[in-house]
Amino acid sequence: MIEVAALSVTFHVGHVAVRAVREVSFAVTEGETFGIVGESGSGKSTVLRAIAGLLPTPRDSVRIAGRAVGARRTRSERRLLQFVFQDPYASLHPRQTVDQILNEPLAIHKIAGAGALVGRALADVGLGPEHRFRYPHQLSGGQRQRVAIARALILDPRILLLDEPTSALDVSIQAEILNLIARLRRAHRLTSILVSHDLAVVAHLCDRIAIMQEGSLVELLDVERLRRGEAREAYTRELLRASRGYSRAQAPA
């Protein structure tokens, strides 16, 4: 469904070129949930943004549903894939009501019956009609992220890209949102890529996991091997140990 072949992304800051992603390749099959894990600055979010078409990428390095796509995409190519952003406080337009936010994608794609679809999309993410005409500042973080998920799913995409969807939320809300994502993924038969720095979240949701470090893909492993702690690379083992928490006994001398 998604093929990434030797994807490199370079940012130019003045005269300095920063290679954020170096020759990353992987493939995600239909219906699979693929996780990308790494520390801050490892390039995991950049890979996701490149797949989404938010960054200029060389053609042929990203293929979606068998077709090569660049950053310029047709409306139907856009509809295939939607994105849930990390920070729900920054991903909703501050001057639009939930109703306007959810109507916009339907208006762009000229989809009829918007009124009913918006109601259904809200119910789908566990929000009621009382939330429909509120502004984002009248909603809690968890409610905002639900709106963002509803906005992504209202176009009925086949692919959902999740960029740390819970890291900006309270711990108590995180589980709710993760369960919601897990349920919707099954209900909509979505192919998804989840980026996170939290191995527990990834292990909970994903089938296969890519570990990234300094822009490169270090290791690909499935969730069973992750749970058993059977990592090939030293960096992955280190990451696994770090995720179990800090203890004095384990700390290297």
Partner: protein, 309 residues
């Protein structure tokens, strides 16, 4: 909560309907948001004062014949020229015996016409150039901003003088001259705002939905730039009024006998020591109008500033 604020008839009062945290319709959400703005504006004494002055000027201009009590602003009465303020002529008469009160009231029309026309021209041009430059970046940004720089380099009154000599003095040319020199700061402002907005996730979200660039600019970027542009415009109004009065003073604005504040000050210039009212009264009108817009602008900035909310 709604039950507590419902009136005895069982119908929810308008105020409660507007303050409802869970609006039932698009209209209610919009009106409730507007209401919150109005309440915020009116609870700020400075802003409320400015709003009251501006509304009073608009009212006076719109109903000028009524407020002038039917006195003609252009009828000459040479027997009573340069009469001091009295119960018959509240603000006295000028060198042609015209009633200064009536002329000041009618003069508000010219001033407001210039202000409105300039705003109507300046805001769309500034927003279009600024948001396009900020959003598209690259070569478009460079070209549009250099054009902005060129216009910014024109001295406003000199350009107006050039216009007047080329096209003839008059209200229309005064408006064109002011508008041509007034839009660049708006383009700069809109561009700066757009650059921040364009990087945000909610714009990325509509890009991913497949929205066209004009749609993104018009429906998502412009509404966010609008508040700072409106504040800037209201604060600029004083400057526009002063420029309009300056053009009138130099004889390049609205042509006589139509009353215009700047021209009125100009005609009273030589009489300032003996017949102070001829120049002072229109001068005060210019002062009050500018102050009103400035206060309103300050208040609007407080209301719109999301950091203060």
């Amino acid at each position: 909560m709604t039950i507590a604020s419902a009136d005895p008839g069982g119908k929810i009062s308008l105020r409660a309907w507007l303050a409802d945290e869970t609006p039932k319709s698009r209209t209610q959400a919009f009106l409730a948001n507007l209401w919150r703005g109005v309440v915020a504006l009116c609870s700020n004494p400075v802003a409320f004062g400015g709003l009251a002055v501006v509304l009073a000027i608009v009212l006076v201009a719109a109903l000028a014949p009524l407020f002038a009590f039917g006195i003609s602003p252009i009828e000459q009465d040479l027997a009573h020229r340069l009469a001091p303020p009295s119960p018959t002529h509240w603000f006295g008469t000028d060198e042609l015996g015209r009633d200064i009160y009536a002329r000041t009231v009618y003069g508000a029309r010219v001033t407001l016409t210039i202000v409105v026309l300039v705003s109507v021209i300046v805001v769309p041009i500034g927003l279009t150039v600024g948001t396009a430059a900020g959003y598209l970046g690259g070569i478009v940004d460079t070209v549009l901003m250099r054009i902005t720089d060129i216009f910014l380099a024109f001295p406003r009154l000199i350009l107006a003088l050039a216009f007047a000599s080329a096209l003839g003095a008059g209200l229309r040319n005064a408006v064109i001259a002011i508008a041509l020199t007034a839009w660049p700061p708006y383009a700069r402002l809109a561009r700066a705002e757009t650059i921040t907005i364009a990087r945000s996730d909610y714009i990325a979200a509509v890009v991913l939905q497949g929205a066209s660039t004009p749609r993104i600019l018009l429906r998502h970027v412009v509404p966010l730039c609008l508040s700072s542009v409106i504040v800037r415009l209201t604060l600029d109004m004083a400057g526009i009024i002063l420029t309009a009065a300056g053009l009138g003073f130099l004889g390049l604005g609205q042509q006589p006998p139509t009353p215009e504040w700047g021209a009125m000050v100009s005609s009273g210039r030589d009489l300032i020591l003996d017949q102070w009212w001829v120049a002072t009264i229109p001068g005060l009108a210019i002062f009050v109008a500018s102050l009103g817009f400035n206060l309103l602008g300050d208040g609007l900035r407080d209301v719109f500033d999301p950091k203060a909310a």
